[in-house]
């Protein structure tokens, strides 16, 4: 038989001024199962709490209802008091008779009666409450960071500097990401390599960071604190321990005409290559798709020339298994390229290039050593047209969003061009200038006022070649939308920032959600911007949405702080208010019919399939199972399950049904 204690608070006069607390206490004492009912001036005060503790011990209470303020305010206080008195804290509930009653109604019988209703409701609930134990999960204090762009680098360094181990996995032969390709960066125009390279070196040398370059995630299992990752280390075709990075092989390789990924296709590289001179690690890889030996079975020149005999043609991919407690996704973005802009001749005319190609043309380490020369004939372009929003904000091309970074880098490009070709004429066709950031608007103004970049408001309709020039057909919508033509030597398209080609596949591997454009979704657009909906997996950088370097770095440090917070305890303690799937004795095992509607609806991928097998190993049925590490207790699955096989602790069917009946003043016996 339940022995419930009810404690009614006056809150000074806050409650007692409108609610007749004595009457409430008297009414409560008449509710079946209530063994103790008192009122007091300030329940949350020390004497108030002491009252509860004493009653729990002396009256052997099996449950407590504190009728006072909102549980959002003092639930933890009273649950702690109960726990101290030896009562499971989840057997304590609060009846909100202040915010939901005394403060919002006039003094009257109706108000007092409502307070009684509320108390009765919570008493009915608490009778159905079960003692629950907090969930504890051990935490492996190693973080897995996927992607070694500036975001991944920053996150790795911050976590490592907080004293935790980091495994950094980078798909390409070197870390650095897109930032390593940039020439100078807005809004300060400092050299990208100069600020990035020291951090890349720091990563390489940090005792807490293990770098796996030229590697990719195979699979990820487990849950927060306890992930198991399998990493594929792709064969570099050489023994990294022996290779000293002398570079002899890359100089001598006869297969040299491969479009360089790093130079965005504008430069060439050999079959055995280091993507760029400052690469980390500074060890080559053999590109097996182009190497003569792999294609034709002949050559092996690199092997002959290598002073340390490091080349290994028969090397195979290696699979590593690691255990980690948290994952940071920092796999970055890409820009759109290919045949998606036929009216601009993009991909057709050599002198219609994209933003990253311009970065390489402007970079001192690029294919022209920083000299402004156009790809088709190497001439210095006298007139350059920059086209903003090329593919962004363009539903017809499938992208509705603004890519956010291109207004700024377009202004930067026009400026860099003008700095290199003083007599040159840069034009920018734009729709709006989006320069929201510290010193950003000033930067764009400088491009216009100091460097004389001509901004024309309008979208370009068409670009075609005529006599070695590119005819750009635009219109100035600020001048009556009159059409105009510019004969340009070079056209730079600020093509849309898009998710990486492999983004969807990776999201499915690690079970995080993504938006229709395959950018990863944050757990809350405002308040949880660095978390994903999967506990223990965090986001950093442009894999979440196009963003610039400062934002990527800020988010990376945020993600690192979250990881460090998680790693600050050896165990993760979570409230046990989570879902559970019904389990029964054989032969039923569970009322769950295995429809997995719940699985599809769960926003946190917390529902797994469990196979129930007989002693002989025969599959009896497959039922749902909630992973307590992932479940956040939203209850969506509960409402959805048709066979009522899944329930949520703390808000169980029994509890809420009892509340409804009590509120409507029908005892259980009435039903």
């Amino acid at each position: 038989m339940a022995r419930i204690g009810v404690f009614i608070c006056h809150c000074g006069e806050n409650i007692s001024a409108t609610v007749d607390v004595k009457k409430v206490a008297a009414a409560a004492s008449r509710i079946p199962g209530v063994a103790h009912s008192v009122e007091y001036k300030y329940m949350c005060s020390d004497p108030g709490q002491q009252m509860i503790k004493n009653a729990v011990r002396e009256k052997n209470l099996t449950g407590v209802v504190v009728a006072a303020c909102s549980p959002r305010m003092h639930e933890p206080t009273f649950r702690r008091a109960c726990a101290e008195a030896g009562l499971n804290p989840f057997l304590c509930e609060m009846a909100n008779i202040r915010e939901h009653c005394s403060w919002v109604h006039e003094k009257s019988d109706a108000t007092t009666n409502k307070a009684i209703d509320i108390v009765r409701t919570l008493v009915a609930k608490v009778k159905k409450n079960k003692a629950l134990l907090p969930i504890k999960v051990p935490v492996t204090k190693t973080a897995l960071v996927l992607g070694g762009g500036i975001a991944g680098i920053q996150a790795s360094l911050d976590i490592a500097n907080a004293g935790h181990k980091v495994i950094l996995v980078e798909k390409q032969p070197s870390i650095g990401g897109h930032m390593s390709q940039l020439s100078e960066t807005f809004p300060t125009l400092d050299c990208s390599q100069c600020i990035l390279t020291p951090r890349m070196v720091e990563v390489a040398q940090h005792p807490n960071i293990t770098l796996h370059s030229y590697s990719e995630l195979e699979s990820l299992d487990g849950f927060i604190g306890n992930f198991k990752a399998r990493i594929r280390k792709k064969a570099r075709s050489l023994d990294e321990k022996l290779c000293t990075g002398c570079g002899l092989c890359t100089q001598k390789c006869p297969t040299r005409k491969i479009a360089s990924e790093f130079d965005a296709g504008l430069g060439l590289r050999p079959a055995i290559y280091v993507p760029f001179p400052q690469a980390v690690p500074n060890k080559p890889v053999i590109d097996r798709e182009h190497c003569t030996y792999y294609l034709k079975g002949k050559c092996r020149l690199c092997e002959k020339i290598c002073p340390t005999q490091a080349i290994r043609f028969d090397q195979e991919d290696e699979i590593l298994e690691v255990e980690v407690g948290a994952v940071v996704l920092a796999t970055g973005f890409d820009i759109k390229h290919g045949d998606f802009f036929p009216e601009y001749g993009y991909g057709k005319y050599k002198d219609v290039i994209d933003g990253l190609q311009f970065e390489r043309l402007a970079s001192a380490s690029g294919p022209t050593l920083g000299e402004m020369r156009r790809p088709s004939d190497g001439r210095v372009p006298e007139t350059v047209v920059f086209v903003a929003c090329a593919g962004s904000r363009d539903p017809a091309k499938g992208i509705e969003y603004c890519s956010k970074i291109c207004c700024m880098y377009t202004a930067k490009h026009a400026m860099l061009y003008k700095h290199k070709v003083h007599h040159g004429r840069p034009y920018v066709f734009y729709m709006d200038i989006r320069a929201g950031g510290k010193m950003y608007e000033e930067f764009v103004r400088r491009a216009q006022e100091v460097d004389g970049v001509q901004y024309i408001r309008g979208r370009v309709s068409r670009i075609y070649e005529r006599g070695g020039k590119l005819v750009v057909k635009g219109a100035d919508t600020l001048l009556g939308a009159r059409p105009m033509e510019i004969e340009a030597d070079l056209v730079v398209l600020a093509t849309a920032g898009v998710a990486n080609a492999g983004a969807e596949e990776l999201a499915q591997k690690v079970h995080v959600s993504y938006d229709p454009y395959y950018f990863y979704s944050e757990a809350h657009p405002k308040l949880r911007p660095v978390e994903t909906n999967t506990a223990g997996i965090f986001l950093a950088g442009a894999c979440q949405a196009p963003k610039d370097i400062p934002e990527s770095v800020a988010q990376a440090s945020g993600a690192a702080a979250k990881v460090a917070g998680l790693f600050s305890q050896s165990e993760l303690v979570r409230e046990p208010l989570i879902a559970v799937v019904d389990r029964q004795a054989p032969p039923l095992y569970s009322t769950c019919v295995g429809c997995f509607l719940c699985q599809a609806a769960c926003p946190y991928q917390a529902i797994e399939k469990e196979e129930i097998r007989g002693r002989d190993g025969r599959l009896i049925k497959t039922v749902a199972k909630v992973n307590p590490g992932l479940c956040q207790g939203c209850g969506t699955c509960v409402a959805l399950c048709r066979s009522k096989s899944i329930d949520i602790q703390g808000f169980s069917h029994e509890q809420v049904y009892a509340e409804v009946l009590a509120l409507l003043n029908r005892g259980e016996s009435d039903v």
Binding site: S70, P71, R72, N96, R98, E99, H100, C101, W103, V104, H105, E106, S108, A110, T111, N113, K114, D117, I118, T121, S521, A523, H524, P525, N533, L577, A601, P603, Y604, Q632, G633, C634, G635, T636, V638, A639, L640, I648, G650, F651, H653, V656, Y657, E659, V660, L661, L663, L664, N665, R666, V671
Partner: protein
């Protein structure tokens, strides 16, 4: 009909509407006492059989309220609730319950005044509709 005091049950989520109703209180706004709140983690948890159960046991009106779309604490629970609500409307019709007895709304943690308004509107509405008398029939259907 003027002395009819309807009984209205409000099913609200913990993160937005419950907090919004708290704010109504802290701002000392007044509203009709005919409404009592039952707290849920999320509108996504609200099983609409519960609503029928409430009607079968003497509720005259019901409010379901949670976070605004896209503001859900659990990111998508309220979308599920909204989807179910659309199905549920049809069911109400089928059972002969006036759809106007159920108010589905979004009240955020900052919308204390909206909560007071919602409660008063609903109370007035239900008062005009009169007591819900169909519960015997519902019980006959086994909903009680």
């Amino acid at each position: 009909m003027s002395d009819f005091n309807p009984k209205i049950v409000a099913f609200v989520c913990n993160w937005c509407t419950y907090a919004g109703a708290d704010l109504t209180g802290t701002s000392r706004m007044k509203y009709s006492p005919q409404v009592s709140i039952i707290r849920f983690p999320c509108t996504g948890r609200i099983d609409f059989m519960l609503l029928l159960k409430a009607f079968a046991n003497g509720a005259d009106g019901i409010i379901v309220s949670g976070c605004h779309p896209n503001d859900c604490h659990y990111s998508s629970g309220n979308f599920h609730a909204r989807r179910r609500w659309i199905v549920f409307r049809g069911l109400l019709d089928f059972l002969g319950i006036d759809v106007r007895r159920v108010r589905f709304s979004w009240v955020s943690a900052a919308e204390g005044a909206k909560w007071a308004q919602l409660v008063n509107d609903t109370a007035e509405h239900v008062r005009q509709l009169g007591p819900f008398s169909g519960y015997h029939r519902l019980r006959g259907l086994g909903v009680g």
